[in-house]
Symmetry: C2
Subunit: 405 residues, 2 copies
């Protein structure tokens, strides 16, 4: 039996980058970028007017001029033409490029307009003077220079990253392909969801849970079920070991006579890396790797054990093989009540995290219903990792929390 | 110009529940449940053995018996048969139903076995006595009783909720249909992502950003673009107002001469609810509702303005119409540096939230690049909402943070 730290290390040792695929930007949300994306020009690419109003030469204002003939009107998207008369103004809209000769913008709110009855021409009267040259002008290259690294490889592509990629014309991007995960439930006692179970049977639920969780971590998943039948496993598993990056099994790994999965997996060439971890729940966790590359997470069949092992070990692996710059880990949370746990095991304690009004993240321990009580998971949104070498955890202790909701 | 609170109220007043659809459970991840799901039987449905080992009558142990004939072996999923001899044991696996006559489980770790040479029969020898009757038995109905409400309408269906629904046989569930959102960018200065812009042009990026963000909030989205052309808008918008639950526009709502969107929308029968909110960035935000039901969020075209308005107003609306029991709001965060903001406007301050080692959520203000600086969004993961009536916010102040990453 190995420690949680050692199990984590052995799993991390199997992390290899998945391959790259090229996707249209509109399909790349949630993926991890695998190329550096640089500014293809300065940002802003031109001296950009930031307010609707007029633009003038600041020197004219400094010389005391407050009324300006409006030469013309320029909208965003129109090519800029130079200011004809250095003492005149261009009426101009947000997002437009600053005309040559003008250097300062004055917003409508600080202007009035009058139309000269004789000439029919409009004049802007400045009511509030701009404080300096360049006011309300978002200068070319103020944000980024051409060639600046905007999105390094390893960036997770969310809405803002997609927008930045669009701005620099990255219509197609290199991203990590999604990990392929086979979720496999085992057990003779399990019947399909739509079946009516006999009194000693229960419906299959772990598979769906693990599949939904793996989907959320970015995987492409498929769901399988095997009865406790060595021959069926020997026939069915090899294809999964060849076609998937990870096989996540639930059930069949504890000490029971029907728990022949470790032996069956070893017989199929899966090299065992460990079996049993010093933790509760989820101790009988088995982990191995097939020479062809697939890793096998064989989780205990108890719903809470499966679930906790998934978020503690499987999800970080699924995220890491996608090669993000950083894999999100647990977050520090403040224990809201005293907790004692005597066995020399790492204890994963179900808690309800609360965003307290003082800015702290509080962890309220949930009444534990035993590792069979799936419904107790509904009351919690995270589990704390209580180290094995400590028995008493007073309220106020800060501990790592693995969030699952 | 109205306050942020009033804008929030006017938007909330348009929230109506979207219709219900019936989905296979495996397709329902991320949806909101619209029916109550109750336990179809007790959980556990039988007295469930929680350890691999043997089961016996506790009374026999109390009477001093420590060796038990193993009558037979029972696996999970096998129908239980009563204990034949009240002084014997059944070897039994985790998940199996407790045989009638037995009441206590002893795990393998606390047993040795010997085979009687004369009879060839196996006997279990108890090395560590169980503390009480019922030990390691997860009693029928210990977790939930038949008829108990497990998942009320309004539950968001994540991995654990799907597993619970599977357990009670909810193969098909009633959920809210996804909101339909048309994302519309406007502006003559905007060219397609794959085009090479002229110096005064920029590529379309807001649409993609808003689309990805709306997708994440559970919407079904489609992306449109219109130039600053009233006739094109008058022709194209009516279909969108009929076919979508929400139309999210970016650009065309500030005071500029080309910003004819509010007038065009009113002309198409969209009732204006407000225009301009006392906030920075994002002041020119326009909101209205079409008599047929669609709401129109017309956001300013500046990327940061669009983005902040989306997360402050549009996302909560998209979540609320799906009818969850609670719509997630901002979380309290501790300002990590002094901030001053003088205008009498609510200030949405871009920050980087940090999960500090002491369990607090710290908010580090990011260098603001102006509302045109899309790339500044990359450095932050949230914005704080600084109330309009206060100018100075010393470090340590706790403020609501809207997380967007």
């Amino acid at each position: 039996m190995i420690s949680v730290a050692e199990a984590t290390r052995l799993i991390a040792a199997t992390i290899r980058p998945l391959g790259v695929e090229y996707l249209s930007l509109s399909l790349a949300a949630g993926r991890v970028l695998r190329e550096d994306l640089r500014a293809d020009r300065d940002f802003p690419p031109f001296n950009r007017v930031a307010m609707d109003g007029i633009v003038v030469r600041f020197a004219a204002l400094e010389a005391g001029q407050t009324e300006f003939l409006v030469e013309r009107t320029q909208f965003a998207g129109q090519p800029p033409e130079p200011l004809q008369n250095p003492l005149a103004a261009v009426e101009i809209m947000t997002g437009a490029a600053l005309p040559e000769g003008a250097d300062t913008s004055i917003r409508y709110e600080d202007l009035t307009f009058r139309t000269d009855e004789a000439t029919g021409r409009r004049h802007a009267q400045v009511q509030v003077l701009p404080p300096r040259a360049g006011h309300n002008i978002h200068a070319r290259a103020a944000d980024r220079h051409q060639g600046d690294l905007l999105l390094p490889a390893g960036t997770a592509l969310g809405p803002t990253e997609l927008a930045v990629a669009a701005t620099i014309g990255a219509a197609t991007v290199a991203v990590t392909r999604r990990p392929r995960v086979a979720v496999v439930s085992t057990g003779d006692e399990l019947v399909p969801i739509s079946a009516t179970p006999l009194p000693h049977q229960i419906r299959r639920s772990n598979g769906l849970m693990l599949q939904a969780a793996a989907d959320t971590a970015g995987a492409v998943t498929a769901l399988f079920h095997f009865n406790d039948d060595v021959a069926a496993l020997q026939q069915g598993l090899p294809t999964l070991l060849e076609e998937y990056d990870a096989v996540v099994l639930s059930g069949g790994v504890s000490k029971g006579k029907a728990d022949f999965l470790p032996e069956t997996l070893r017989g199929l060439g899966v090299e065992q890396r460990f079996h049993e971890v010093q933790q509760r729940p989820g101790k009988p966790f088995w982990f191995g790797q097939h020479p062809a590359g697939a890793v096998v997470f064989a989780l205990p069949g108890n719903p809470v054990s499966s679930f906790v092992n998934f978020y503690r070990y499987v999800q970080p692996w699924l995220l890491a093989v996608q090669q993000p710059a950083a894999v999100p880990g647990p977050v520090p949370a403040v224990l809201a009540a005293d907790v004692a746990f005597r066995p020399a095991l790492t204890h994963f304690l179900l808690v309800r995290l609360e965003d307290a009004p003082d800015g702290r993240r509080l962890a309220h321990p949930e009444r534990a219903g035993g590792s069979g009580d799936q419904a107790s998971l509904l009351m919690s949104n995270a589990f704390l990792e209580l180290p094995a070498e400590q028995e008493h955890f007073p309220a106020g202790t800060v501990l790592p929390a693995w969030r699952f909701r």
